[in-house]
């Protein structure tokens, strides 16, 4: 067996019992080549064929736990969402939809960059005329909320519903959440008209998955199945054993499809904290930032040691938006003097927009507009439910 990690002075053996063990190379008395043995063909269960007349669903795979399988012989992570494989591992899908799988790339989501978002959006846009009733985007969970936000902005009004789906427990284990999330997403897509959502387990139980609005969702736990939560409200929908239940959460009225696929990653998220050195902000500006989202304290503040650097940023024509590190609630910068000072320095309060969503929106806005006024207008325009109505 090749090693899947470290320790070159030991040899890994796979025994007949299935166990792997490591022995020191010094233990080896001799090496003999045995005749080749024929590897028995994998006794794979037959994949059920989808029933006729089902809604067509596109499955775009971008990588991550849900779409990967570790090859324990080579250690390689391979995409594992071929058409056969998908029906085989999630047989119930064959009763819900006719799935067309496509692999765009295979990356864990911490490696995804704004260019990847663009690529996903372009694939979706290209497929928009192919008559799919919905699209599942299989995605790593770590940065799923960023991609969901981006797609919400770049493809606002997309003619079919889109569900980003991930997995907190890898599909190689019998307890994986992948199958339920995929099946729930497929059912969900056949029952709603539009919108970009994240579909993941509602909580630690199997049975129910939650559908979160793409701009209001956050990964709030490192490992739990129910890690994804709609911040500040309930999930838009719940899917329980295939049945759609509308929650009290925000949903978007279907709007006109207006694809604007652009991105400029020269934006930065600055989490203010006691002891923040304003020189760090200057260095961000020196690195060429065109926009900054502050994650300020409480109602939207940064300490007064920051004022001069903020002023320098304003002079350079950098867009500055304020969100709160409280996670829930909206910023309100007129309550305290410090907030009013910051408004005076040119910081734009962004209501109850999540800081990560605000960052993505800013990158997108910078991709579309060259001028700070145009960027600001977009930031304050409610495009995909990213802030509560009437918050400004």
């Amino acid at each position: 067996m090749p090693r899947y990690e470290g320790g070159g002075d030991r040899l890994v053996l796979k025994l007949d019992s299935g166990y792997n063990v490591g022995i020191e190379l010094g233990w080896i008395k001799g090496v003999e080549k045995l005749p080749d043995i024929e590897r028995p063909a994998a006794a794979a269960a037959a994949a059920p064929a989808p029933a006729g007349g089902l809604p067509k669903v596109l499955l775009l795979s971008t990588g991550g736990t849900i779409a990967s399988r570790i090859d324990y012989r080579t250690g390689a992570v391979t995409p594992a969402l071929g058409p056969e494989e998908i029906y085989q591992s999630v047989p119930e899908l064959a009763k819900i939809a006719e799935i067309t799988p496509r692999v765009i790339f295979s990356e864990h989501s911490e490696n995804l960059q704004p260019d990847h978002w663009k690529k996903i959006a372009e694939e979706l846009h290209a497929a928009s005329g192919e008559g799919f009733g919905g699209v599942i985007v299989a995605h790593g969970t770590d940065t799923m909320q960023y991609t969901a936000s981006y797609l919400s902005f770049a493809l606002s009004g997309f003619p079919a519903p889109v569900a980003l789906v991930g997995s907190q427990r890898s599909p190689d284990r019998p307890s994986s959440d992948a199958a339920q999330n995929l099946a729930a997403a497929a059912s969900f897509l056949t029952q709603v008209d539009s919108g970009i959502y994240v579909v993941m387990h509602l909580d630690g139980n199997d049975g129910a998955s939650a559908c979160h609005l793409g701009t209001r969702v956050r990964k709030n736990h490192t490992s739990k199945r129910g890690a994804f939560q709609t911040v500040g409200g309930s999930p838009a929908y719940t899917i329980r054993d295939g049945r759609l239940e509308a929650g009290p959460g925000d949903r978007l009225a279907p709007g006109e499809y207006r694809p604007r696929i652009a991105v400029d990653p020269r934006a930065s998220l600055v989490k203010y904290h006691p002891g923040y050195d304003p020189a760090v902000l200057d260095s961000i500006l020196d690195a060429g930032a065109r926009g900054i989202i502050f994650e300020g304290t409480g109602l939207g503040h940064v300490g007064r040691q920051m004022y001069e650097a903020v002023g320098r940023a304003a002079e350079k024509g950098v867009f500055m938006g304020m969100t709160s590190q409280c996670i829930d609630g909206r910023v309100s910068m007129t309550v305290y003097e410090s907030g009013r000072d910051l408004l005076g320095l040119g910081i734009t309060p962004l209501g109850d927009m999540l800081s990560e969503t605000a960052l993505v929106k800013l990158m997108w806005a910078l991709g579309i507009k060259d001028d700070i006024k145009g960027v600001r207008n977009i930031m304050l325009d409610r495009i995909a439910g990213e802030f509560s109505p009437g918050v400004f």
Partner: protein, 628 residues
């Protein structure tokens, strides 16, 4: 059966002993090892078969997956955390368990690997929330001395499964308190020569484990899986043997069952050619209309159907019983039961169970049965009936080759019943969440130094040091209470301490009380009070009983609820004087012979509060005084 019988049929017994390690924590997290009385949280899950690293599905996993169970897990703080709930990756390996397994491997002269790989062993019956058990092969080879020598195959360190609380209506409920407790698994080379030899090996291995001082005590803390085979048959794995006498019976039962299956196979080979499939199943609900079987009437009126399938030429085969209780019909019924059905009907046993000869005739003629044909019937919905009948026909097909490879469960009375097909190596793949563990020279040396002395020497040493007889010394070592004994033997008489630790606690356990509740510290505390004469000898059993019954959570509480406590001499005398006064006429009549009856009355009041010897002496004095 004598040993020549076992030799003739080529009986081989492989033992796998699983011993919980009392390290105070779980193998991959810091939760404790206590059994929970209450569970504040419950979680609902479903498991599905996943493919192994070699791309194939494990037959046992597929079998469980086909049965589509829902699992309810009961959890709670202290006894389980996100690791047991499969909501968080495992933490580092328990160092205590790591040390314990190295000691045991060293004691058995087993070759320890220098790098140990945590693996995932697929288990889809729901007993692991993840769908796999984490296990690592630590060493291979070695020798166990148990009268003769028995080879050691392998020693693994693994996590215990969740505790099954109940199963009904497609829902299995488990407690997460036991999940993750470190277990050492020792597999022995096949033992020939009969059940007795297997028992001796199990006893010797259990003793070795206990002598390390790392073994957990109490019901279920040691379990044996037994692999049994006879010549020409596959290996059958029997799970859940908990007692040595049960082990002997299980091996004997399996020997006869497997030999019987070989005899059935011989008969079958000339007759049975695989013909029918599940699609040949016929709905015979209409033929059963006039049946007198209440169960059938009830099922049919509830919308169930009766399905039958013809077995050409098999008349007399399903009911043929080469040994008592061994029949192919019974094997099929057990298989059907494992899918949640009540069982099957087959023509060799009919008419019976309220199914009349008219019913049998109607079904037979519907199936077109000739004189030498047989049939089986199942009651279920169509989809389930098809699944189960397919499995039954498959089993029948495999009956031609005798003993199928399967996993069975030991029954408390020493029989076995079908559990699931035997898992293959496909069910093992690396646990990538935990890095491989390198074993250093230093660690091996340290473990070697902690290897306990051999059993005989331990017994002899105990006898010599404390003046115990051999039997009591052995009992003491078997009890697992040696550590406490060594601590208390200086302050109370050794023989008394040993017999209190062995027979008193064992006796209470036999009455169904839970020794798990009796913590070491409590036992020591009680002995300490005895040494200080705060309680009487008789009080020990009362205190242990109250704690093991769950009436008290501490020694102080046990004393309180049992109303015991040492009386002063004056208080004791006061009670005795009262008794003498009440029974003066008897004393006058019987003289000194009244002492026996009075002693009984006195101890009824004084048990646990005053020493018996003291009462006897005082009572004697007082009787003499009363006479005089």
């Amino acid at each position: 059966m004598d040993d020549t019988y076992y030799e003739r049929i080529g009986l081989k017994v492989g033992l796998e002993v699983h011993q919980q390690l009392a390290t105070g924590r779980k193998l991959f997290c810091g939760c404790g090892q206590e059994e929970a009385a209450k569970f504040p949280r419950r979680i609902t899950r479903r498991l599905r078969a996943a493919r192994s690293e070699t791309g194939s599905y494990d037959p046992a996993a597929v079998f469980e997956g086909e049965r589509a169970m829902t699992m309810v897990y009961h959890a709670g703080p202290g006894i389980s955390c996100l690791v047991e709930e499969d909501e968080e990756p495992p933490h580092g390996v328990d160092p205590g368990a790591r040390e314990a397994v190295l000691i045991v491997a060293s004691a058995l002269n087993s070759s320890i690997f220098r790098e140990v790989f945590p693996m995932r062993k697929m288990v889809v019956d729901g007993s692991n929330t993840s769908g796999f058990q984490r296990t690592m092969l630590v060493s291979m080879g070695g020798v166990l001395h148990s009268g003769g020598e028995v080879g050691v195959q392998s020693i693994c360190l693994e996590e215990d499964a969740a505790r099954l609380i109940g199963e009904s209506g497609g829902v299995r409920e488990y407690g997460l308190d036991r999940l993750g407790i470190p277990l050492i698994e020792i597999a022995l080379e096949p033992i020939e020569g009969g059940p007795r030899r297997a028992r001796d090996a199990a006893l010797a291995l259990g003793r070795l484990l206990r002598s390390t001082g790392r073994a957990a005590r109490g019901i279920g803390s040691i379990r044996q899986d037994v692999n049994v085979s006879v010549s020409g048959g596959a290996v059958v794995e029997v799970k859940g043997v908990q007692r040595l006498d049960q082990l002997e019976k299980v091996v004997d039962f399996e020997a006869r069952r497997q030999e019987g299956l070989n005899m059935i196979a011989e008969k079958l080979r000339g007759i049975w050619v695989r013909g029918p499939t599940a699609s040949d199943m016929v709905d015979v609900t209409a033929e059963m209309k006039g049946t007198e079987s209440k169960a059938v009437v009830k099922e049919i009126s509830g919308g169930g159907r009766m399905y039958a399938v013809l077995l050409p030429g098999l008349e007399g085969i399903l009911g043929y019983s080469p040994h008592e209780g061994i029949r192919l019909g019974k094997e099929l019924a057990e298989l059907a039961k494992s899918y949640g059905m009540g069982g099957i009907f087959h023509s060799d046993e009919l008419p019976a169970y309220g199914i009349t000869s008219d019913d049998v005739e109607a079904v037979g003629s519907r199936l077109g049965a000739a004189g030498t044909d047989a049939f089986i019937m199942v009651m279920a919905q169509q989809e389930k009936a098809e699944l189960v009948v397919g499995q039954l026909l498959d089993r029948l097909d495999r009956a031609r080759s005798g003993v199928p490879s399967e996993t069975r469960r030991a029954t408390p009375d020493g029989g076995t019943v079908f559990l699931r097909p035997r898992p293959g190596p496909a069910r093992m793949y690396p646990e990538t969440d935990v890095p491989p563990i390198a074993i250093s020279d230093k660690e091996l040396e340290a473990a070697g130094a902690l290897v306990p002395e051999p059993w005989d020497e331990m017994v002899a040493g105990l006898c010599k040091r404390h003046g115990l007889n051999t039997q009591l010394a052995e009992q003491l070592l078997d009890s697992g209470y040696l550590g406490i004994f060594e601590k208390v033997a200086g302050s109370v008489p050794a023989n008394f301490a040993a017999s209190a630790l062995c027979s008193t606690i064992t006796e209470l356990q036999r009455r169904g009380l839970d020794a798990g509740r009796l913590e070491d510290e409590m036992i020591e505390e009680a002995f300490g009070m005895l040494a200080e004469e705060k309680i009487a000898k008789e009080s020990l059993g009362i205190i242990f009983g109250a704690i093991m019954r769950g009436d008290a959570g501490s020694v102080a509480e046990a004393i309180k609820v049992s109303g015991i406590g040492a009386l002063s001499d004056a208080e004791t005398e006061e009670i005795l004087d009262r008794l003498i006064g009440e029974n003066l006429s008897m004393i006058k009549e019987r003289g000194e012979r009244a002492a026996g009856a009075l002693m009984g009355m006195a101890m009824k009041e004084l048990r646990g509060r005053a020493g018996g010897e003291k009462v006897r002496v005082l009572l004697g004095e007082k009787i003499r005084a009363a006479q005089g």
